[in-house]
């Protein structure tokens, strides 16, 4: 495994000392998220999420397949993530690193296992046909906190995506092209947001949204996934230093505030883009008030 350059001792000391004083290199508070930018692509379900130098793209695609035999009433939802040298030179192409497994597991748990996407509504004919919704996540640039970025990207893309309309007559399924029928949104039950905390100073200090440098220097990290209904979907902490339970509670509270603001940024970006996209359907509403 190719290694990246380790931070110099001088640098390390400087970063740690300033963190102890509550200062970060980019001028943020300890519990500040970098400013989030969300851009949607031309097509539905394409999203480009960036904060700081971290940049992640996600794209949703669908196809019709046969459901799993043990879940005939459910559609399939899968997320693929791949770390390539494109994002960071330390990532190697064609080899699955531990970090990659951790990231993909985290996203999987955060979005798929928390039932953010209602898979039951993806069933077309039970046991025979269902939608397979695929989210592919591409990491464009790595400056720390890939997990949070990927989670935001997947959720935003899911909310943005529109699948083609269907008609089912008996066993026969007709998929209508987007030009012929206005495509329909997926049924999203809630928006899980990941917030990753990095710990310094033996757990005394917790910072949010660490940059790559900070990630390298931290003693341990913990990811909390929650939604704006205050429901915690997962708390992930693998190894690292011991954290006091009360610290976890206070982290969860911080995470909630961040999740709310992230959700509103996503929602705003979504509304704006969909409004723009829907101009092509202006005057197309068939349901009109009777005066």
């Amino acid at each position: 495994m190719s290694r990246h350059l380790e931070t110099s001792l001088n640098n390390k000391e400087f970063v740690l000392n300033s963190l102890e004083k509550g200062l970060r290199l980019d001028g943020r508070q300890l519990s500040d998220f970098r400013s989030l930018e969300i851009q949607f692509g031309k097509e539905y379900g394409q999203v480009d999420v960036s904060f700081g130098h971290t940049r992640v793209m996600a794209r949703i695609t669908t196809e019709i397949t046969k459901p799993y035999t043990d879940r005939p009433f459910d559609g399939i939802f899968s997320i693929t993530t791949e770390l390539t040298p494109l994002a960071y030179s330390a990532f190697e192409a064609g080899r699955v690193s531990d970090q990659e497994i951790v990231i993909s597991r985290l996203i999987e748990k955060a979005v798929r296992r928390s039932n953010a996407l209602d898979t039951e509504s993806l069933c077309i004919i039970s046991g025979q046909k269902c939608w397979h919704v695929r989210a592919s996540v591409h990491f464009i640039n790595h400056d720390g906190n890939l997990v949070d970025a990927a989670c935001i990207a997947v959720i935003a893309a899911l909310c943005h995506f529109r699948r083609p309309e269907l008609t089912v007559v008996g066993e026969e399924v007709t998929v209508h092209p987007v030009e012929e029928r206005v495509p329909v949104p997926l049924s999203i039950l809630h928006m899980p947001i990941c917030v990753t905390f990095s710990f310094f100073n033996n757990g005394e200090l917790a910072i949010v949204d660490a940059t790559l440098e900070e990630e390298d220097l931290c003693n341990g990290s913990m990811t909390i996934t929650l939604n704006k209904n205050r429901e915690v979907c997962q708390i992930y902490k693998a190894g690292g230093i011991i954290i006091d339970p009360s610290k976890i509670i206070s982290c969860a509270k911080t995470a909630f505030d961040i999740a709310v603001s992230v959700c509103s940024v996503i929602q705003q970006a979504l509304d704006e883009d969909l409004r723009k996209k829907e101009t092509q359907y202006l005057g197309g509403s068939a349901e009109n008030e009777r005066s």
């Binding site: 005939p72 009433f73 039932n115 209602d118 039951e120 509504s121 069933c123 004919i125 039970s126 046991g127 309309e165 089912v168 008996g170 987007v178 030009e179 012929e180 029928r181 206005v182 049924s187 039950l189 190894g239 690292g240 230093i241 011991i242 006091d244 339970p245 009360s246 092509q280 359907y281 202006l282 005057g283 197309g284 509403s285 068939a286 349901e287 009109n288 008030e289 009777r290 005066s291």
Partner: protein
């Protein structure tokens, strides 16, 4: 770095540590597996009374000791003393409901052995047990007996896993018993396993079966029910599992069906389920003059409304009359009538001798399913709240009363309570009582306007999706700025007449935006009248074989709901460019007649034109203007001419034998601010309504003749077949018995005449009622392609016209668009598009628009019904109503003021004693004997009788839905 604080193994003691070594072979490889198990000696017993275990209690994150769970003074029973309970796995597995009872079963120890056995059997059950342990009041505690030095047991060589677990449970129980002995607390081991109980007794453990134990409890009766009900359920479930009993007969194979259809042994047809009783259907089969009945769950054999089924006629002695009972929502009632051949069947036998029974059949196969996604709500009773997010099977009660409940599995059941949802049927096995489906989507909370409207649109298959891009691309680029070209040499003016100076006006319902038609009339120099009907020139904008054309064809018609309009064409066309709005120039398709004083047509002429409507009136405004003698301007005078001629036309039509069957239309008054429905009133019809109607009819008839002459094979026409006389049989009989009257139904003319004569001076509403019932005996009108019927069958029965089409509303009906194109070709305005002379394609389109038309009508009615219900919400109204159908256990009333129909069950007449009901079939009469004190009385209910009813809305406990309830006031 992870830290696990555990017990260090004392070097000397071998007892704390078990090694298990076994060899596993996988794909030819042999693997040695070593499993080490470390045992602890610091597991507390969790009893508050126990001083020994105090030091072993775990601590929370702040270092505070967690209090033990089991009470120091547990329940006392004479037989067992103060005791804690240790149930075995099977008790949890089968009777967890009883253990969850909030007022019984406290201080229970759940052994780890039990936990692991349950978790391997059922995860939801395991979760319920975990939840029980978290409930403070119940004092259930887990105990890790498998990790505890004193209670761990090793599996013996010749011992099965189950036996080992039982032994582990017994060991733990006996450890607890001795551990707590000095404190005066006993242990009771609950097990239903006899062998286990015997061995436990030998070990000196107090043991009991759950049933025996429950008997000593104060609430024993309730608990016994729970325990035994569950035990029975298990028994019956096992029975079902052991020999999968089919609920239904198997369907015949397709080849057998086809062969039997050929030799006439079975008949195929579309099954129609009764709206009053979903366990009764009928199939129209050629060769039988009455629809063939299919009655009961077994005979219906999994057929669902609209399926194409194969039926086999039953022997004549099993023939039945139409259902005399209304199927209640309550399942049980229906089941009993279907299952047992009780009095109903015996009655039938008598009846057959008296009245001729319907041919009766059973379904033996289904050729084509008509399944679609069904809207409904989840039956609350089938949802287990406690199951949380785990998957469970629930039943959907569909909105359509004719459709059986649908079973589906979902993980979000608790979230679906009180929601309108869509479920699709996937299959229906012979072994399953209900069809099985899957969840499609959630429409929203029940009783909200949005969800109910959406539900209604889906249920009637109304295409309400937004217009896609491809359709919007067909609209003129200028958008709302589109104008008739000023330059008359412009190609669009070619073959168009300039009628901009004619005094044209439109008359429509108030607030109408999609104005299809406008009229004018003036006196010609020769003393005759010139009358013009101008129809929006939709086909100028909607060209054949474009996306917009096919979209309009698939929508078929605009659907009018109480508060909404689901357009067939995009707004830009419907309410602006095509709409014949006043004061602007619009393209039109005009039909100009020259008429004499007696409204005889002297000449008719069709042309594309440009008009400029001078005014858009509402019916009331137009009426006022005509009636106002001060108004003498040419426009008003023209309208007076129109009115005069329309009256003559109407009279002529009536003389021809046109039927006046108009059912009362209700109007919903809404609150201006909230648009909540406030009140319901019957629509008033003015002379101007009939003015417009007459000229539209005239235009339609003239156009029909013209396009039929031009395209004898492919003209799109509309026919209304004469109803078969047998349709009137039951109505005739009712009339004869109840009123001593008779209808002459052989022609529409004689029917119209005898309808006029059937008047009951005592009951002025009777005639209207009769007209409503007569309408129900008729067939519905349909679009068709002229080549598919012989000219005598073109006749429109209701309008008494030999030929008819729809031409006057192209903005909201697709049939009119076709007629426009054909007429344009017939007058050589343009060449005919090949799609309009392709007979098979036209037949297909006609079938489509017939279906859409029917659905639109039903959706409109359902919308009114919903709003009437909403208007009645919370209030209590007493209204006059009329009996229009009598069943054995109830009757149907029609409430004129609301245009509402409802069922009154006889059992609802009294809340105390169920009334005795005598059903006099021959006289369509119920004698209901109300036995309530203080004043028992008999109420008679007969067809056509006027009754007083109380209309209220009640919340249906079952579905959580508001329901209109009608009760008799006597």
């Amino acid at each position: 770095m992870s830290t696990v604080s555990g017990l260090k193994r004392p070097q000397s003691s071998e007892k704390n540590h078990r090694d298990r070594v076994f060899v596993r072979a996988t794909r030819g490889k042999v693997q040695k597996v070593v499993r080490e198990q470390y045992l602890r000696n610091d597991i507390p017993c969790q009893s508050r009374a126990c001083p020994l275990c105090r030091s072993k209690l775990p601590k929370d994150s702040r270092g505070n000791v967690l209090e033990p769970i089991l009470s120091e003074k547990p329940m006392f029973l004479e037989k067992f003393g103060h005791h804690y309970l240790i149930p075995d796995s099977n008790i949890f597995y089968h009777c967890i409901d009883a253990l969850e009872h909030p007022n019984n079963f406290f201080d229970v120890i759940i052994l780890q052995t039990v936990f692991s056995e349950i978790s391997s059997k059922s995860i939801p059950l395991y979760n319920r047990m975990k939840r029980l342990c978290q409930e403070k009041t119940k004092r259930f505690t887990p105990f890790s007996n498998e990790f505890f030095v004193d209670t761990f047991v090793e599996r013996l060589d010749d011992e099965s896993a189950n036996d080992r677990n039982d032994r582990a449970i017994r060991n733990a129980a006996s450890w607890f018993a001795s551990h707590l002995a000095s404190l005066g607390i006993k242990i009771v081991l609950l097990t239903d396993d006899r062998e286990n109980a015997r061995l436990a007794a030998e070990q000196g453990i107090q043991v009991s079966t759950l049933k025996d134990y429950v008997q000593y409890l104060p609430d024993s009766e309730i608990l016994l029910d729970m325990v035994s009900a569950i035990a029975d359920a298990i028994a019956s479930k096992e029975q079902v599992e052991s020999g999968t009993k089919n609920v239904y007969e198997l369907h015949w194979s397709m080849s057998r069906l086809l062969a039997c259809i050929k030799n006439g042994e079975v008949h195929k047809g579309l099954i129609n389920i009764s709206t009053y009783n979903y366990l009764e259907g009928s199939v129209v089969v050629p060769g039988y003059n009455k629809p063939v009945l299919v009655s009961g769950r077994e005979n219906l054999n999994r057929a669902v409304q609209g399926d194409i089924v194969c039926i086999q006629i039953l022997p004549q002695d099993q023939w039945k009359t139409e259902a005399e009972e209304i199927a209640d929502d309550d399942e049980d009632v229906v089941v009993s009538t279907a299952a047992e051949p009780d009095s109903a069947r015996i009655n039938d036998l008598e009846l057959i001798t008296k009245r001729n029974a319907h041919p009766t059949a059973k379904v033996v196969g289904i050729l084509k399913r008509n399944w679609r996604p069904y809207v409904g709500h989840v039956d609350n009773a089938t949802i287990a709240q406690s199951k949380g997010g785990s998957q469970q099977t629930v039943l959907l009660t569909p909105m359509d009363r004719r459709v059986p409940k649908i079973r589906f599995r979902t993980r979000q059941a608790p979230r679906l309570v009180g929601r309108r949802i869509v479920v699709a049927i996937d299959l229906w096995d012979a072994s399953s009582r209900y069809p099985e489906g899957h969840f499609v989507r959630d429409l929203g909370e029940m009783e909200t306007k949005e969800a109910e409207t959406e539900a209604l649109l889906l249920e009637y298959d109304v295409q309400h999706r937004p217009f896609p891009k491809a359709v919007l691309d067909c609209l003129p680029e200028e958008g709302h700025n589109w104008k008739v070209p000023a330059d008359k040499t412009h190609p669009l003016w070619k073959n168009r007449k300039d009628f901009r100076d004619k005094l044209i006006c439109s008359i429509d319902p108030p607030g109408c935006q999609d104005i299809d038609d406008a009229l004018h009339a003036c006196v010609l120099p020769n003393g005759n009248y010139e009358v013009g009907v101008h129809i929006a020139d939709v086909t100028h904008f909607v060209k054949p074989n474009t996306s917009m054309d096919s979209e309009a064809a698939s929508r078929g018609t605009t659907v009018y709901l109480v508060d909404k309009r689901i357009d067939m064409l995009p707004m830009l066309l419907g309410t602006d460019l095509c709409s014949l709005r006043p004061y602007v120039e619009r393209f039109a398709f005009s039909c100009i007649w020259e008429m004499d004083e007696n409204a005889n047509i002297i000449k008719v002429h069709f042309t594309k034109s440009v008009i400029a409507s001078k005014e858009a009136f509402s019916y009331a405004d137009a009426q006022a203007r005509i009636d106002d003698q001060k108004m003498q301007d040419p426009l008003t005078q023209g309208m007076r001419v129109l009115l005069k001629l329309s009256k003559i036309l109407k009279q002529k039509r009536m003389d021809e034998g046109a039927l006046n069957l108009a059912s009362p239309e209700v109007r919903i008054q809404t609150d201006n601010e909230t648009s909540d429905p406030m009140d319901v009133e019957i629509k008033q019809l003015l002379e101007t309504n009939s003015l417009v109607e007459e000229f539209m009819l005239l235009a339609n008839i003239s156009v029909a003749q013209k396009i039929y002459d031009a395209f004898p094979q492919t003209a799109v026409l509309r026919r209304h077949a004469a109803p078969p006389l047998t349709n009137f049989d039951s109505l005739q009989d009712i009339l004869r018995v109840c009123k001593g009257m008779h209808l002459k139904c052989d022609t529409s003319k004689s029917l119209a005449k005898s309808l006029d004569e059937c008047v009951d001076p005592k009951e002025p509403y009777f005639n209207t009622l009769l007209r409503i019932l007569t309408t129900r005996c008729m067939l519905s009108a349909e679009y068709f392609c002229s080549g598919t019927f012989a000219p005598p069958d073109f006749r429109h029965y209701g309008l008494a016209s030999p030929i008819y089409t729809h031409f006057t509303s192209p903005i909201r009906r697709y049939a009119d668009v076709l007629a426009h194109r054909q007429l344009a070709a017939a007058i050589d305005y343009e060449t005919i598009n090949p799609s309009l002379s392709d007979k098979s394609r036209l037949i297909e389109i006609c079938n489509g628009i017939n279906y859409r038309h029917r659905m639109a009508q039903m959706a409109g009615r359902a919308s009114i019904e919903y709003y009437v219900g909403q208007a009645l919400k919370g209030g209590v109204a007493e209204e006059d109503a009329y009996v229009i159908k009598v069943f054995k256990n109830g009757f149907v009333v029609f409430i004129a003021r609301f245009g509402l129909e409802g069922i009154v069950y006889t059992k609802s007449l009294s809340s105390v004693l169920e009334p005795n009901v005598e059903y006099v079939e021959d006289e369509y009469k119920l004698n209901i004997e109300i036995r309530d004190q203080p004043k028992p009385q008999t109420v008679q209910i007969q067809m056509f009788q006027q009754v007083r009813v109380r209309v209220t809305t009640v919340r249906d406990e079952h579905s959580g839905k508001q329901k209109v309830q009608i009760t008799l006031v006597y």
